[in-house]
Symmetry: C2
Subunit: 136 residues, 2 copies
DNA sequence: GCTTGACCTTGACATCATGGGAAGGTGCAC
DNA sequence: GTGCACCTTCCCATGATGTCAAGGTCAAGC
């Protein structure tokens, strides 16, 4: 199986497969006589694992650790759970940040007429830091 | 006022001030005879505006537009509101993504013993796509 | 056997906003 | 006149991914 087929089978682009190999996230693929990379079932499983982890937002560094644990039969599930917990915290922290931005923007937007006139509490807020429709 | 003072006064690093100038987000700063950049009150206001917009998660491209509107006395507040609305949508879309990740991870994590044993639904999910503690 | 088109190879560069550092010039206080 | 803090430009790095270019390879059709 060459890289294009592996990409189609796992949902990881050929480009990223090469990249993951270059940064040492996955082993170097086998090669045909003419230099084409070849992939077996084990490689596909690893790539699929990586894609699922990326879909859950894990960083490459975290995936590196997860892969190591996955391949370690003597692992403790506590180690995996800790990585997940850390990641959940990172995600919720980001969510809170976004939430704050959204709430501020919605508040400002609600006070903006959105008409032909130039007066705009959104710009006022950015320019002065003051909130015309302040509520506390 | 030179770049270091401007940075301290606005909360934008000197590095970023130079960068914003290089990409044309702000006008080229005046220079002293020896080449030091100089900043006046107007420049500080612009930089502060940019920092507040960044704090609200606006992209440089969006800030470019906001700055143009800010400096356009004939603007329609509707234009500003539209940019904000677009941005709110982007932010909420990201939040939804994060939310989904978090929910999945919390679910998997809840089913993980987190002890010395290797069995782990988190790894199982990444490896097989199956959910041991499936609920639907 | 030759052409064609799809695929592979490496490598360089772009994104986005930001940080780090090197090498050298400037300003000011002691 | 020395030292230190600041300034200048320029280059490189991040993280994950995309794009493009120039060239090699494979398989099918003629």
């Amino acid at each position: 199986m060459n890289i294009g087929e592996a990409a189609a089978a796992t949902g990881v682009t050929a480009k990223m497969i090469r990249h993951y190999e270059a940064i040492g996230l996955i082993h170097e693929a086998g090669r045909t006589g003419s230099g084409y990379r070849t992939y077996g079932p084990k490689d596909l499983a690893t790539l699929t694992f990586i894609r699922r982890a990326r879909d859950l937002g894990f960083s490459i560094a975290q995936i590196r650790d997860l892969l190591a644990l996955w391949q370690d039969r003597g692992r403790a599930s506590a180690d995996v759970k800790r990585i997940a917990a850390t990641h959940i915290e990172e995600l919720t922290a980001k969510m809170r940040q976004l939430q704050e931005m959204v709430m501020t923007l919605q508040h400002l937007s609600a006070n903006c007429q959105g008409d032909d006139r130039p007066d705009c509490p959104i710009l006022d807020r950015l320019a002065t830091g003051d909130d015309a429709g302040g509520c506390h």
